[in-house]
Amino acid sequence: MKQVEGIPANDDREYVTFEIGGQLFGADVLEVQDVFQPHAITPIPLARTEIAGLLNLRGRIVTAFDARSRLGLTAREPSSAPPMAIGIERDGETYGLLIDRVREVMRPSIESFEANPVHLDARWADVARGVYRLKDRLLVVLDLDRLLDSGVANQAA
């Protein structure tokens, strides 16, 4: 079962939760390096839209990756609050996933976990591991690798 892989039963995992376009998402804490406020993102001409640009994070060059664009959401309004970034380390390279707002770290019960609804947008289904039914809202678990991976695959195509 694809949806449950990476989320073993009887194991309540901890998630860093954040909002993108009003939806609550979660990423496994173990996959998140840090959360930071990106400054001065240098756009990369001719790059794909998901790639927001490069930024300087404590002397390292980090590739900023726009989650909104990847999920097929509209671009961020210039008037809205500046994005936050989730630092992800992958193959020795650091990526910053741009999201709208960071929420708390939580440990939802595995009991409330469910596979992706069958009619979920293919683009989302591709990067979502499943959904937690929280009390008042739904938490979509993101597979960060896939999120970035398909980015690479798109690039190659």
Binding site: I44, L46, A47, R58, I61, E93
Partner: protein, 919 residues
């Protein structure tokens, strides 16, 4: 101590560590061939290097060890613990000798007869009878004892090689060493495994040493070698070197980390300085200044860990020149200048091989034989000069010789012969351009292939390697006077000097290495002019092609102010071009950071960097900028071989020349150049309308002309470009809108087409191009075009079988052969051909493709030789690269021709058939 010796010691110490471990492993698993081979190789290397450095004792021990190992390897001797112990002992001995060498700079006097004897005995199989470690005592009586007893080394050696009936180098060398002085009697101290050294050390009576005996003894004691206890303690310790304390090996990653940290520190310092300037707090001034200085020094030091004198890359050259010149019977002096010039260790490693190759080349091809030199009025001894110096943030290395220079005519002939250039190109090329052809792939000018160079992987590899590190290579040669190669390389790969420019409100770094000059342009005095959208600039009476950075990067150009621009003149290869930017900021030393893998394939940028103010900017790749120029269709394309060569360097595989043109629509179309006889630019008003199309008087005859995009597209006035095809009897014209270019590229039809007249789409020069089915258009003009000659030769109509797996070439060659007056049957492969044979179809000639599957083709051809039906047919092989055709194919098929070479294919066929008829 000599640097070379130092390197040798460090390297050998490492090798020995490995040998120790490997031997132990080998002892446990004697069947492991790989381990044994590894040991053998390491010991062999040590032996070789010792010979090179004139260290006879080390060499002799290593040689004896190697001999024994060789027996193991060949399976001539079983691997016993005793034998392995012996080898380990010899390794220990080598270590002891090395330790002495390290402290004294010379080999200790004395000899290693004891251990060598044991090793040689073992190699002869005597050891195998013995029990493990305490084998020493039996050795003496059993083996060369009589000879030892004589105390005469010469006799001893004589005895050695008389008995086995073989003369080994070690024995000879040992013999020579023995003459040096009296030799201790090994029997006096029957050697336990590690004992021989002590015996030797103490008994050493020779006086040939440079150091006095007392000094030597003292030094030995100091180094822990002199005492017997130390010896017993194991040689592993003894080679721990003083050298190791002075230089340590540090993991490159650690150094890289240091670099990154220092870069960050510098940035932080800059921020602090900036803040202090604003706040103007005097309390901080002093400490800040100190911090600033220390940071700068730290940066320098860390940088130094990356720098090495270029002389390190040259060390082996004198030896190479000496050996090479001896091999080829020449007299050559090597002069090296500027060997202290420092550059990045990484760069150094990368240019070592190209430099060595080039110096070899100069010895081999450049400098003439003494007799030739005398005849040319030069001194008998040739000179090769290596020179390195800094210039504008890069290093220039010149390799010059006063030899024969490059023979332009020979290079031209060879290039033509190898198809590197076309005859038309050859005519246009200057001598300098011709000479640069030696950088083209697969080019080797030596008349004969020597074992030194001339293997055909010469200068193109050098060029590729140098370009890999952002370098440039060029040459100047005067026939009869010599050749100079210029290599321009960056000092370091990690840090480079970059020009920071602004375009579309963003900043970009442009490698200073590529920047020739900066010009202000766009005002009245220095306007940017356009020729049909192509921007050019008059620079010192030459037109400089321009590319607009903002436009090419798709940046916003609306915010541009005023007409003034800056033109950064960039040179990549031979062609300079200008890059239009909005602003020019500064030159900065930047630390190049690679782009994330997600961004690679994004070839416009070679990396990114963090500027002093903390901003991240992209580094432009100068080669990508050059591509911008090349991709502008209206730009004057650069002439000559530079382009051909560079293309050929990146592309391998089958390449053909294509004529690229436009006809109806913007998408370029292409046809193989080999099919086209001439390109004409005819006066459109001379076209006349006949009952079934246009005709024009062409070379005294009427030629039918059809426009590829349809009759309506034919021009009524002005010039009309026409592709002229010729079938040997009469020409036919196909008009097009515009002839764009001739490209040399590998054909890869990616999309087959169902549109008549289009074979499919292929990417040529990075652009999707429709490949035209020439036959379709020719048939459209004149249905009989393909058969005109046939009527004349009706009686002798020849049938040809074309076996070709590639549909493109099948489609191409069939009409071609038909046009030449043959009846053609095409088979898509060997299998299809066999089916035709079974059906009893007879042919006069069989053309078989070799490229699809050479083996299968050769088998096919060989099988036909005895076939009653097809045996008598003329067999010709075709290939994209006939010079590569295998020998088997050559034997089976009478001839092998290039399938893209229409003329020679037809000629070979006609000649073959005629000869056969006559016979």
């Amino acid at each position: 101590m000599d640097d070379l010796l130092k390197d040798f010691l460090t390297e050998t110490a490492e090798s020995l560590e490995v040998v120790d471990n490997e031997l132990v492993r080998f002892e446990q698993e004697p069947s492991d061939k790989a381990t044994l081979n590894n040991i053998f190789r390491l010991v062999h290397t040590i032996k070789g290097t010792c010979g090179f450095l004139a260290l006879p004792r080390l060499e002799a021990v290593a040689h004896a060890g190697e001999t024994l190992l060789g027996k193991f390897r060949d399976g001539a001797l079983p691997v016993t613990p005793a034998a392995v112990t012996l080898v380990l002992e010899s390794i220990d001995r080598i270590k002891e000798l090395l330790a002495y060498l390290e402290t004294h700079g010379v080999e200790p006097n004395g000899d290693d007869r004891d251990i060598i004897t044991q090793l040689e005995d073992a190699a002869m199989g005597r050891l195998s009878a013995m029990a493990a470690p305490t084998v020493d005592i039996p050795v003496v009586p059993e083996g060369p004892a009589p000879f030892d007893e004589q105390g005469n080394a010469y006799d001893y050696d004589l005895g050695r090689y008389l008995r086995p009936g073989e003369v080994t180098l070690a024995a000879l060398e040992a013999a020579f060493r023995m003459v040096d002085g009296p030799v201790p009697d090994p029997l006096a101290a029957p050697p336990p495994p590690r004992a021989p050294v002590e015996v030797k050390v103490e008994a050493k009576p020779e006086t040939k040493s440079e150091t006095k005996p007392e000094t030597r003894a003292e030094a030995r004691a100091n180094s822990g070698l002199g005492g017997e206890d130390d010896e017993g303690g194991g040689a592993g310790k003894t080679h721990e070197s003083a050298l190791a304390a002075q230089s340590i090996r540090v993991n490159v990653d650690v150094l890289e980390d240091l670099m990154t940290l220092v870069s960050e520190l510098v940035l932080t310092r800059n921020q602090l300085l900036q803040m202090n300037r604003v706040a103007d707090n005097t309390d901080f001034k002093g400490p800040l200044a100190r911090l600033s200085n220390i940071t700068a020094e730290l940066q320098d030091s860390v940088m130094k860990t990356h720098m090495q004198p270029i002389g390190n890359a040259w060390k082996k050259l004198p030896r190479i020149v000496r050996d090479t010149s001896r091999d080829v019977g020449k007299k050559i002096d090597l002069i090296m200048e500027g060997d202290a010039t420092e550059l990045d260790r990484q760069v150094l490693e990368l240019i070592k091989d190209p430099l060595t190759h080039m110096v070899r080349n100069s010895c081999d091809h450049g400098v003439e034989k003494p007799a030739d030199r005398l005849a040319a009025g030069k001194s008998e001894t040739g000179t090769i000069r290596l020179k390195a110096y800094h210039e504008g943030g890069r290093i220039i290395i010149e390799i010059s010789d006063d030899g024969a220079g490059l023979a332009t005519s020979r290079i031209r002939d060879k290039a033509l012969e190898k198809g590197v250039i076309s005859p038309a190109e050859a005519e246009q090329m200057s001598d300098a351009q011709i000479q640069r052809l030696i950088f083209a792939p697969g080019f080797s000018t030596a008349a004969a292939v020597t074992n030194l160079s001339g293997r055909g992987v010469g200068m193109d590899v050098v060029r590729t390697n140098i370009e890999l590190i952002g370098g440039v290579i060029d040459l100047k040669s005067v026939e009869g006077q010599g050749t100079v190669f210029y290599i321009r390389i960056p000092l370091t790969l990690a840090i480079m000097s970059a020009l920071v420019v602004g375009a579309g409100g963003q900043r970009f770094a442009l490698p200073q290495l590529a920047v020739v000059e900066l010009v202000r342009a766009g005002d009245k005095a220095h306007p940017i002019e356009t020729i049909n959208k192509a921007q050019v600039f008059r620079l010192r009476d030459r037109l400089l092609p321009l590319v607009d950075l903002s436009e090419n990067l798709g940046l916003d150009t609306t915010s541009r102010e005023g007409p003034t621009r800056f033109v950064v003149v960039v040179q990549v290869g031979a062609q300079p071009f200008g890059v239009i930017v909005d602003e020019v900021f500064d030159t900065e030393e930047i630390v190049v950071k690679p782009l994330a893998s997600m961004l690679r394939g994004h070839e416009v940028f070679s990396g990114a960097t963090i500027l002093g103010d903390g901003a991240v900017i992209m580094i432009l790749d100068q080669n990508a900028l050059a591509r911008f120029v090349a991709n502008q269709d209206n730009q004057p394309r650069k002439q000559g071989q530079d382009e051909t060569a560079s293309n050929a360097a990146v592309e391998d595989g089958e390449q053909s020349r294509f004529l690229v043109f436009r006809a109806g629509g913007a998408q370029p179309k292409a046809a193989p150049l080999s099919l086209i006889t001439r390109l004409e630019d005819l006066d459109a008003t001379t076209f006349e309308v006949s009952d079934d199309g246009y005709v024009v008087q062409y070379r005294g005859a009427l030629m039918s002309v059809v426009h590829m995009a349809g009759a309506h597209a034919m021009r009524r006035e002005g010039r009309q470009p026409v592709l002229v095809f010729h079938n040997g009897a009469r020409p036919l014209g196909v008009a097009v809108d515009e002839i764009v270019d001739i490209v040399h590229d590998r054909l890869n039809v990616e999309l087959a087409s169902h549109t008549p007249g289009i074979l499919g789409s292929a990417v040529l020069k990075g652009q999707a191009t429709e490949i035209i089915d020439v036959a379709y258009y020719l048939n459209a003009i004149d249905r009989d075009w393909a058969r005109p000659v046939r009527e004349e030769k009706a009686k002798s109509l020849k049938r040809i079988l074309l076996v070709e797996a590639n549909p493109f070439f099948r489609n191409l060659l069939t009409p071609l052969l038909q046009a030449a007056g043959y009846e053609v049957a095409a088979a898509a492969g060997v299998e299809a051909a066999h089916k035709m044979r079974e059906r009893g179809l007879a042919f006069d000639a069989i053309l078989s493709d070799l490229d699809h599957n050479a083996e299968e083709a050769a088998e096919f051809g060989a099988g036909l030789a005895h076939d009653p039906l097809w045996g008598p047919a003329l067999k010709i092989a075709m290939s994209g690269a006939p010079e590569d055709a295998s020998e088997a194919a050559q034997l089976v098929f009478g001839a092998c021709v290039a399938k893209t070479d229409r003329a020679s294919l037809i000629a070979t066929l006609a000649h073959g058939l005629n000869t056969r008829n006559a016979a």
